[in-house]
């Protein structure tokens, strides 16, 4: 049902979160049949094949890195943080989209979240996987990464708990485990549905084991509701804390351009922007490919586009402050650094980030753009690319104009830098395609409850 052009955004009658005619059983049957019954479509095989090829690139890039060391990248002193750290911030930022949608908007009781939360959370799980790899491989001697753990050792050494880099390690650890846990717990009732609908033996075994024997008794539901609320209430501050701490990784250094008090919120806004963009990029094709038009409606796309616009405005404010503060402070190194950003070697990258993250998303003020899915997809793609560029500019653009002129340097990425970046995309896509095939991409039990509430007539 295409919405009428003069419809006012907001009221449920004009922009339903569930299209008319969709019943609880039709959603359950459709979503579980996608996993259990449907023949794997051609697009899945093509997409999965390409993803596997990219994953192969990642394996080769990491293999060569493990043989030769970080010298295969373009990094050197003083630019010792190159792509790896930029990639890390990029991936962990995109991961935030899933957590914000499923945790934050669960707490605000937003009814549009139910249909998109599973896609968003599944995205998060593999984004944090990609993110977690990056800081480890950027260690020159990555096999010593366990030194980050405060374990009793014969050297009587401790990790430096006062360092933001160690805070970050603890934060990633909590966030990775929290994301996987949150995703899995939210999946348990749906796994039980799959177990009960499965006809093949391997399916019954797989989903039976994963569902752990969920019965759906009133006792089970009571505990489940409570646990899910607690997890959501924990994940919402955790996602804000991890991006704040990622910001502190930089703010804790004295490098011009990093030593900014605004960095923690700056990074949270950037993370939210890229997170919403990735969710949009996944939701729009998936509602077509999986025939989910009934439960993922233009209203969902519209809400995500508005969130993207909001995040873009918040981030644009930070971009302004980033240029204003050095001049306000009058610190010479800061001014040199910011002038180098605006007109130096990396200026094209800097202006690309401004255009892609700050300027183009302003198109989303217009309803016609928010309704135009191909255009919206391009805007979101621009944001995802722009956010990678932003992290590149923050990492490299600051390091290349440090306090002392003797440490001015130009970083040129090598083919292995690009291979690592492309390969990590392969890891993400491979994981996501696998989840797409074996996990219901819509939370069936949440939609059953939502449809019951909507049809019972008690409105929102």
């Amino acid at each position: 049902m295409p919405p009428t052009p003069d419809a006012v955004a907001g009221p449920d009658s004009a922009h339903p979160v569930i299209e008319p005619g969709v019943t609880a059983m039709s959603v359950t049957a459709h979503v579980s049949d996608l996993v259990l019954e449907r023949r794997t479509p051609l697009w899945w095989w093509v997409g999965f094949g390409l993803s596997l090829a990219l994953l192969g690139v990642f394996a080769v890039a990491l293999g060569w890195l493990f043989i030769r060391g970080v010298g295969i990248w373009g990094i050197d002193w003083p630019i010792s943080w190159g792509f790896a750290i930029g990639n890390y911030v990029w991936w962990v930022g995109m991961a935030s989209g899933g957590t914000l949608i499923s945790a934050l908007f669960f707490l605000t009781r937003s009814d549009w979240r139910s249909a998109t939360s599973r896609i968003a959370e599944s995205m998060t799980v593999f984004c944090v996987a990609c993110a977690g790899i990056m800081p480890v491989i950027h260690l020159g001697r990555w096999w010593y990464f366990y030194w980050l753990f405060p374990y009793p050792n014969t050297m009587s050494l401790w990790p430096q708990f006062r360092s933001p880099l160690h805070w970050d390690f603890v934060a990633i650890l909590a966030y990775v485990m929290g994301s996987v846990l949150f995703w899995y717990v939210g999946l348990i009732p749906d796994l039980a549905t799959l177990r009960d609908r499965a006809r093949r033996r391997w399916q019954r075994l797989l989903y039976g084991v994963m569902a752990m024997g969920w019965q759906g008794s009133s006792g089970h539901w009571r505990q489940f509701k409570m646990l899910y609320l607690i997890l959501a209430a924990l994940m919402a501050p955790l996602v804000c804390s991890i991006h704040s701490i990622v910001g502190l990784d930089f703010a804790g250094g004295l490098t011009p351009g990093w030593h900014e008090t605004q960095f923690p919120p700056y990074f949270v806004f950037g993370a939210a922007l890229s997170g919403f963009a990735v969710v949009l990029m996944l939701v729009m094709p998936l509602r077509r490919a999986l025939d989910l038009h009934g439960v993922i409606t233009p209203r969902h796309v519209d809400v995500l586009a508005r969130l993207m616009l909001t995040a873009s405005l918040l981030l644009s404010y930070c971009y302004l402050m980033e240029v204003f503060m050095p001049f306000y402070r009058g610190e010479r190194a800061d001014i040199i650094q910011v002038m180098a950003q605006l007109g130096g070697y990396y200026a094209p990258w800097y202006w690309a980030k401004i255009v892609l993250n700050g300027v183009i998303p302003q198109l989303l003020w217009f309803r016609r753009v928010r309704r135009n899915q191909p255009l919206l997809f391009l805007v979101a793609l621009g944001v995802v690319v722009g956010m990678w560029i932003e992290r590149f500019v923050i990492v490299v653009g600051s390091l290349h104009r440090n306090h002392s002129e003797s440490s001015w340097f130009i970083f040129v990425p090598t083919v292995w830098d690009w291979a690592t970046l492309a390969g990590s995309v392969g890891l993400f896509l491979t994981g996501f395609f696998l989840l797409l095939r074996f996990i219901p991409m819509v939370s069936m039990f949440e939609l059953r409850e939502l449809i019951h509430k909507k049809t019972a007539g008690d409105g929102r």
Partner: protein, 192 residues
């Protein structure tokens, strides 16, 4: 809808070793189930359980269930995790390996606060999952309730009330008057 035949399964001596005897009533609509539940409670049935495809409000009140103790466990884990996490950092930085850097205090608690928060949150997440599994007695791959005919519908679109047979009483007639079989209601007796 595919109903898996459960009757030919062996009901005795599997899994937990005990078998179920009683009646299960299946409803198409949660309101009908709630209405039946009310009647059953008024008739004095106490060993009841509801199985539903999503959490139905009011069921807990009708069954007289207490609030979940999960938040208390999680809060305790948070406090313990916070204290433990802070102590770990304090011990490492101020006692076991003190490093005097420019005369700054060794117990630099503001620098320990973020990790304290993260460790505390992590403990709460894990304790929540463990407490949930303990309270729900999961993982539990097999339970006799799975052999009840039509049980697989409870995770899809049916609302089931399980009525355990009362010792030494034959409630068949009473149940038939309380739960009139017909539109949207199906009654199954489950032999031991």
């Amino acid at each position: 809808m595919t109903a898996r035949p459960a009757s030919h399964r062996d009901h005795t001596g599997r899994g937990t070793g005990h078998a179920l005897r009683g009646t299960v009533a299946a409803f198409d609509h949660p309101d009908a189930m709630l209405e039946a539940l009310r009647r059953l409670r008024q008739a004095g049935f106490s060993r009841l359980e509801v199985y539903s495809p999503y959490a139905v409000e009011e069921v807990d009140e009708l069954l007289g269930r207490k609030r979940a103790a999960l938040p208390l466990v999680v809060a305790a884990a948070g406090v313990l995790g916070g204290i433990g996490g802070f102590f770990l950092q304090y011990w490492g930085m101020a006692v076991s390996y003190p490093l005097n850097i420019g005369g700054r205090p060794l117990n630099s608690w503001p620098a320990f606060s973020t990790s304290t928060f993260e460790i505390s949150a992590l403990c709460m997440l894990l304790a929540g999952l463990l407490a949930f599994c303990a309270a729900c007695r999961l993982p539990r791959p097999y339970d006799p309730i799975f052999d009840v005919p039509g049980f697989e519908q409870a995770s899809q679109d049916r609302f089931l009330i399980w009525i355990a047979a009362r010792e030494g009483r034959d409630d068949r007639a009473l149940l038939h008057t309380l739960l009139p079989e017909g539109q949207g209601v199906r009654i199954d007796e489950v032999p031991a």
